[in-house]
Assembly symmetry: C2
Homo-oligomer: 448 residues x 2
């Protein structure tokens, strides 16, 4: 099977754990059976690999998430996972079109092959993957040019899209996979409207689409005379900034759908996240006396003590601290928009960095770097700042202006402004980086 | 006037801002008229200096608070303030006895001179100082050997001590300062008992005592054949571990008291602290919609966002985060006792340090050092750890094994284990210190 997993979005709604570069799907909030914490993206990919060990998986994402995708999801040998990176964020139609061209020209996938597109972060159980298999069979049977999956709604949400499965065409029963035509689509209605749709029999639009590769390349040809990844990449800006639902699904006459009865959750707010957390507290948290219906997540090393709180979310991380009534937590976005805050934690292709201290007037910044075993930074320099690296643990090799230096616990390396440098970790490494200059800012990086 | 200000106590009840080495009186939570934040100790001392510009002030404290006292309260020229430091924590009687000996032998105070002892941290207005002056006059008039101050209670608190002013002795009216004999003392009663005491006319024991110096030296002589600071210091362990109330006030026949009608608060819990905060939020705090009766203090640089909270205290600092219902916040102590946490922020005589990152297995620690202009560390070394200093800002001179090095922004200095070193700041300095070794612990310091 061929999957395109869509990884997009920015993470204001799960602030302070998510931020502009750390979307909700990368937060390690879920405990697997081995007791390890994994992110929504890691959880879904693990489930997908278990259900379809031979599947080919392409993750469609943007530059800002590429590092997190590689850091969390890439396997040393590739593991059948490719990353297709947009040159700029547009919307789901261009992203899926680019990924389709990638499958065609870079993976050599035939135009007759079915492709399943789905989000990287729904919270689902094993029955979801059985439904994906059903969807793929429906595509193979040519039940429709485009087949969608709809989840049976459990409440009239104003946050999801809806579609109504119509009656099977006259003289023709449902096929074996239960495919029905789609009668109409409705985007994010009021709760009252949503209740009416549900009474009619409408389903939640899960953002899961199945089609033969050639079908989508045909639609792409209507926008761009391009078929290969390189061509689409170069002309990406000419594709419309529009969703796949709008550009394809809602315009297609022969669109079919299957109904998925199992549990399906888009964990996009603190309130919905709390519903799927396996335990009320995560991290260094003490829930004291009098707490009722409290969920607390603490990513800091220091303890979080909660006493006598009711119906609340408490979340603490490098970017800040949130204390919110559960209901109110859905309205967090405008407050977070108003914070104008720098990103304090970011995943990189080589590991992660966390800001420990910002000096006044932007003249210094102290950062903790964690480099994966085998992780390697790009060869780069900074124009306006010196850096001092002190190795806390692990071993590796730094290269500064072409000269290699072995690095181990206690090694101190000065990197003057302008000096090209990189680091390759042999074992997992931790370093303290002190940045010093007249204007210390993230944008001051020149890569070679 | 001669004051002994008692600075003691550890700060579990205002966790996470207070801790074992940072008592509540040193938290900078109060805005003065110039808009600057000051601690309870700084506030009281400022008020005292304004009321009695010529007063001599001796601060009686312990080793663990000495640095904070010097850092917050010492003036460059001394400013008439001395610090009398106990060799070990015992209780208020030994501390006051040592300070009395200090006034006698080190300050040359005559045995006839009145001395006023009071805590360093009540939250009071100017009328409190007028009452202190009244107390001193009563001592000068020999209204009693020992004169106490009692505050008019505003509610039946179970946390304070009470005493009852008795009728003036037969044939003798109150003296001009309103001194009455004390009929009885009661320690920390139940709220019900407290209500009964108040109905009888009892006052809160403010912990304020006035006496002639010779009176206390006489009582001290009953425990130790010692009168000078050095003698009492050397035999400090032989003094009973008991309070001044128990050892002196409650045994004295000729104990008088004056009544203070003004506002007096012992700001010892989050709940009482919230009552005297001039604004509901302090630090980088956003109080979002739906907040009612919320007080929030944030000592971290990162934002704290509170939404839809009611009747709550939120406090965030280097040691952790507290989220508590206001009423519940009085019961914090056993939870904090259970945290077994290292101190993340500490004031030093030369400035302050804050732990930014603890490495795993105690093999490293990254610390931010802020050194006052003119601040100087002791000449010291560490047995089991190397240190790397990187200067972020400011200028000064380091001495390592007798060799002096100028220090400025960007200077990196390695301090191998065993190397004696010190730093003297010419201007205010900030440094990052990385500690590395097989066992990085606070106790590993040898001073010269």
């Amino acid at each position: 099977m061929n999957f395109i997993l869509l990884s997009g979005g920015s993470g204001k709604r799960l602030w302070p754990l998510s931020n502009d570069v750390r979307s909700k799907q990368f937060l390690k909030l879920f405990q697997n059976e081995a007791g390890e914490y994994e992110s929504m993206a890691q959880r879904l990919l693990r489930q997908l690999r278990a259900a379809f060990p031979d599947a080919s998986v392409t993750i469609a994402t943007g530059e800002s998430q590429k590092s997190a995708v590689l850091n969390q999801l890439a396997e040393p040998d590739g593991g059948g996972i490719s990353v297709c990176c947009e040159p700029a964020r547009r919307d789901t139609f261009p992203a899926i079109a680019l990924a389709a061209a990638y499958l065609y020209s870079e993976q050599g996938l035939g135009e007759d092959e079915p492709v399943i597109v789905c989000p990287i972060d729904p919270f689902v159980g094993p029955d979801y993957f059985a439904a994906l298999a059903r969807l793929e069979r429906a595509v193979r049977q040519d039940a429709a040019s485009l087949v969608l999956m709809g989840a049976a709604p459990t409440y009239p949400s104003a946050k999801y899209g809806y579609f109504l499965p119509g009656p099977a065409p006259a003289g023709q029963g449902e096929n074996g996979e239960g495919v029905r035509p789609v009668a109409w689509f409705r985007e994010k209605p009021s709760e009252e409207q949503a209740a009416g749709y549900i009474a009619e029999g409408a389903l939640w639009n899960c953002g899961v689409f199945g089609f033969r590769l050639g079908y989508l390349l045909g639609i792409l040809a209507g926008y761009l005379p391009a078929k290969t990844y390189r061509e689409v990449y170069e002309h990406y800006g000419e594709l419309p900034r529009t969703s796949f639902d709008y550009a394809v699904a809602e315009r297609e006459k022969a669109v079919g759908c299957i109904r998925f009865e199992g549990a399906w959750k888009d964990v996009g707010t603190w309130n919905t996240l709390a519903e799927v957390m396996s335990q009320p507290a995560l991290g260094n948290v003490v829930l004291g006396s009098g707490c009722e219906n409290v969920h607390a997540v603490n990513e800091l090393e220091q303890p979080l003590l909660v006493m006598g709180a009711k119906d609340m979310i408490v979340a603490a991380g490098p970017d800040g601290v949130l204390v919110s009534d559960k209901h109110q937590s859905s309205y967090i976005k405008p407050y977070v928009d108003g914070l104008h805050q720098r990103v304090m934690f970011e995943e990189k292709s080589w590991g992660s960095f966390r800001v420990l201290l910002e000096g006044p007037h932007g003249h210094s910044m102290t950062v903790h770097l964690a480099v994966r075993a085998g992780g390697q930074m790009s060869y780069h320099c900074h124009q306006n700042r010196d850096e001092v690296w002190t190795v806390l643990s692990g071993r590796g090799r730094a290269t500064v202006e072409g000269r290699e230096t072995p690095m181990g616990p206690g090694t101190v390396l000065r990197l003057p402004a302008g000096a090209r440098h990189t680091l390759r970790a042999e074992t997992a490494m931790e370093l303290i980086e002190v940045q010093l200059g007249c204007a210390v800012e993230d944008a001051d990086v020149k890569q070679f």
